[in-house]
Assembly symmetry: C2
Homo-oligomer: 290 residues x 2
Amino acid sequence: MPGLLLGDEAPNFEADTTQGRIRFHDFLGDSWGILFSHPRDFTPVCTTELGRAAKLAPEFSKRNVKMIALSIDSVQDHLSWCKVTALGRPQGAACKPSQPWRDVCHIPKRGGAGIQSRNGEFSIFVERPTKCSVQEENNIFAVPPLAERDINAYNGDQPAEKLPFPIIADKNRELAVKLGMLDPDELDKDGMPLTARVVFVFGPDKKLKLSILYPATTGRNFDEILRVVDSLQLTAYKKVATPVDWKPGDSVMVVPTLPDEEAKKLFPKGVFTKELPSGKKYLRYTPQPE
Amino acid sequence: MPGLLLGDEAPNFEADTTQGRIRFHDFLGDSWGILFSHPRDFTPVCTTELGRAAKLAPEFSKRNVKMIALSIDSVQDHLSWCKVTALGRPQGAACKPSQPWRDVCHIPKRGGAGIQSRNGEFSIFVERPTKCSVQEENNIFAVPPLAERDINAYNGDQPAEKLPFPIIADKNRELAVKLGMLDPDELDKDGMPLTARVVFVFGPDKKLKLSILYPATTGRNFDEILRVVDSLQLTAYKKVATPVDWKPGDSVMVVPTLPDEEAKKLFPKGVFTKELPSGKKYLRYTPQPE
């Protein structure tokens, strides 16, 4: 992939995300990982994609794959003015209940609440927990940002549900450039390219196992992403490869380097060799091993 | 993609292929193009992939997409000793009918035929056309190389049918390195990496529109490749984008830069806007335009 080739180690970048600041290797831990970029919040294809990704999060989790999205939006800014401080820790001046941020951040019309500014970032405090969509996290009540709420709504979920994965805010395009993620055909109002639809799959060794690079106008196929994750994980641990158009449960191919005798022992369900004009015996199938 | 980012122009390389020497830009002409690499001839997944690609060739052709494969095999060597010179132009010494090349190259047991050597390349001549699998091309009778015959046999076709696309012989890995196609986890007997399963899709402007990079052990999904070609071509000519998991015939998204009024005119089948918590009106669907 752009900037990253097969076998390259993931850069151990630091970044701000919708779930706080991360260092990428710490985020990955010993898991598999999928880093996927999208052009922009509040755009149509991205919303359908992140909605589908959110729906599939349990499938990725079951496979021990950590998900993290990325766009060049200032997710940090976006979040910062929606942060709600913890109960009993008012940090700013109260402001009128009619202010638009109450609606935007799902703050109830009544009750003490206010906006504070600190180091140029805005945050919101409330005086007591409410029945609204405020969720507690690290002693901070965080309200999902607007884009997240749109994604949930797209899925038919409660707008206030939390996305099951963080989104990296790559506002200055540092990661996008480093990882070759930009789409020169999609420009923002300043004429700067947006991020393309990239997928990087990393193994537990943090090395790149697979990537795809689609332009902004072509939404990805998340069934295909799950399919290749299944193939990567199966072939990482078994001496098999998956043929064209393989789906989980289909027969697989025995890797060419494995001698016939060993293959027979290793695959007790049987190895079936297809006859070929060359007379070579390399087209060896076996049912998918457990 | 490795070595190539979205919007990069395809390098105008020269290369030997199973259909002769090409210059890439001339090969592409004004068509769309798909360049796809595989690790090695005579290996299982590659055979299933090229078999499927051969079956789908009419679909790509219908979409004005030229196909060309690539591996680090010496396809040139492979072919050169299978070349059969034209009728009446014997260029070498006759040799015994029992020689193995007669079987390998589908030369009939009887009839004048011989092997010639010229500039270090071997070719085969026959004295008259035969009923065997020899095909005329540019006044040269060419017999498909072994790998091609295996691929056809895999498909259940006549072994002697010609693959509907050329395969580049990148013996010295020059293109593989330049285009970032190598898979460090798949080594040949000399410990050198093989080519991964890369797909580059180029537009008629010869610029990269999309790429995928799968390792040797994960066979590709050619339905997905056709799907994205359909998306790329639709979105290149219409002001739409295709949502996640889109398939031809499904509704598409109106691009965000198109004002509502213009969208209504441009898409007479109607534009449907989904309500979202943010209140923004960007999730606009329309039936796939003709």
